[in-house]
Symmetry: C2
Subunit: 235 residues, 2 copies
C-alpha cells in the first residue's frame, strides 16, 4: 500500500505543490483519479473524511488523517518529514510564502475561473504580476537567496518554502512559456531556484510522470484556454 492517497484533478495547479513535496520526501502515493475526486467533493460534508469544498485532499495512511487545503497539507508534510524549520520566524515565513503562492494562483486564474482573461484585463494585470514576482524575489534575497545559489529561507537544504516557490513559478512558466522571460527579468534569483529544484532527480521523475499523465496542463479548463489566448499560445 502507498504511504498517501491524493484526491486531485488530473492537472498540475494546486495538486502539484503536494506532489512535489511527496516526491521530495520519497513518499509513495496513489492518485485517486478524477471520478473518485469528483465523487468525494460532492458528498455531504458530514460524510467526507475531511469536510471540504474542493480538492486537493491528502490522506496519510500511517495515521489515518485526511486533510484539505493546500497550505494545510504542505505544512503537515513539512512537519512530518522534516522539511519545515523549527524556528518560529522561519515557520511563519514559510506560511507567508505559501499564502502568497495561493494568492498568485487565485490572481492568475481570476479566482479559479470566476472570470475569463481578456486582452485588456491581462494588460491591466501586468504590473501586479511583476509585483508578485518581485515580492518573492525580495523575500528570498532578504533571507540569503542569490542568483548563484541558496534557498528561500537561507536553510542548508531546500524546505517547504523552496518546493512551494519552485512549483508556483517553475511549473507555471514551464507550461506557460511566454512568462519565463518575465520571471528572469523580475525575479532572477527565484528563476534560478526554480531551475535548481527542478533539476533534482526526484523532481525530474515527477515531471516525467506528470507530463505523461496530465500533459502540459497547468490550471486547465476555460481559464487556461483564456490564459493561452492572451499569451498568444497554442491551445
Amino acid at each position: 500500500m502507498a504511504d498517501y492517497t491524493l484526491h486531485y484533478w488530473p492537472i498540475q495547479f494546486r495538486g502539484q505543490f503536494v506532489r512535489s513535496v511527496l516526491a521530495a520526501t520519497g513518499s509513495t502515493w496513489t492518485e485517486a483519479g478524477i471520478d473518485a475526486t469528483a465523487d468525494l467533493r460532492l458528498r455531504d460534508p458530514s460524510d467526507q473524511p475531511v469536510p471540504h469544498m474542493g480538492p486537493p485532499v491528502l490522506t496519510d495512511h500511517a495515521t489515518g488523517l485526511s486533510l484539505s487545503q493546500m497550505p494545510a497539507i504542505l505544512g503537515y508534510l513539512g512537519r512530518r518529514h522534516g522539511l519545515l524549520s523549527g524556528k518560529a520566524d522561519k515557520i511563519a515565513l514559510t506560511d507567508k510564502i505559501i499564502g502568497d503562492a495561493n494568492d498568485v494562483l487565485y490572481d492568475m486564474t481570476r479566482y479559479n475561473g470566476a472570470q475569463r482573461w481578456t486582452d485588456e484585463a491581462w494588460k491591466d494585470f501586468q504590473p501586479r504580476l511583476d509585483r508578485w514576482m518581485r515580492i518573492f524575489e525580495a523575500t528570498g534575497r532578504s533571507n540569503g537567496l542569490t542568483d548563484a545559489g541558496g534557498h528561500m529561507l537561507g536553510t542548508p537544504e531546500p524546505g517547504i518554502a523552496d518546493y512551494t516557490v519552485a512549483t508556483l513559478w517553475g511549473a507555471m512558466t514551464t507550461i506557460l512559456t511566454p512568462l519565463r522571460p518575465r520571471l528572469d527579468q523580475q525575479a532572477p534569483a527565484i528563476a534560478a531556484l526554480c531551475d535548481r529544484i527542478a533539476a533534482r532527480p526526484e523532481q525530474q521523475a515527477l515531471q516525467r510522470d506528470s507530463d505523461r499523465d496530465f500533459g502540459p496542463v497547468w490550471c486547465g479548463g476555460q481559464i487556461e484556454a483564456s490564459l493561452r489566448d492572451v499569451l498568444g499560445m497554442d491551445q
Copy 2:
C-alpha cells in the same frame, strides 16, 4: 511601547482575525492607521519590512519580525502565545480551518471585490454559502463541538481555530445580520461557539473598540455596498 503594531485598514475583515487573537492573548498593539498602511503597501517590495501585496502586516516588537498573510500571522501568534496545540493533526486542522476561512472571505467578497454582487449572482451563491457553513459545522462536530459547548478541535481552552471561526462567522453575521438565521439553521454548533467566544470579556472590549473606531463595517467599499444591497440592508 505596545507589543505589536498592526498595519490594516479601518475595517474588520481580515484584520479582525488578528485583533481577536491579540485581544485573547492580552497583547497590546498599535493600529498604524489608514495612511501608514497605504504607504507601506505601495513601497517597493525590497523596501518593505516584509514584502507584501496587501495588509494585514503585523510587527512583533519583541523580536522585530514583520509578517504579512493573515494565515501566517494567526499561526505565528498561536505558537507564540500557546493557542496552537502541539499535536500534528490539530495544527494541520487549524491550518485547514484558517484556509477555509480565507476562502469564505474571498467568496463573500467575490475575490476582494473583483465583481460586485447582483441579485442573480447572490442567489446562485446560496447553496455554496450553505455548504461552507455545513463544512465548518461538520469539522467542529467531528472534533467534539456541540450546540451546548466545546471547541472546534476538542481542546479544553479555545485556540486559534476557535477565534478564527468566531471572527469569520460571528463578525460577519453580527454586521450582516440577515445572515444570522441562516447560520443558526446550517451550523447551530458554530453559531453557539461564535456567541460563547464573543461573550468573553476581552472580545467584548475589542468589539466596543472596533464599533467605536470602524463602525459597523465588515469588508467595506463597493463590495460591502453590493452585499448590503442583495441582503436588503441599509447602507
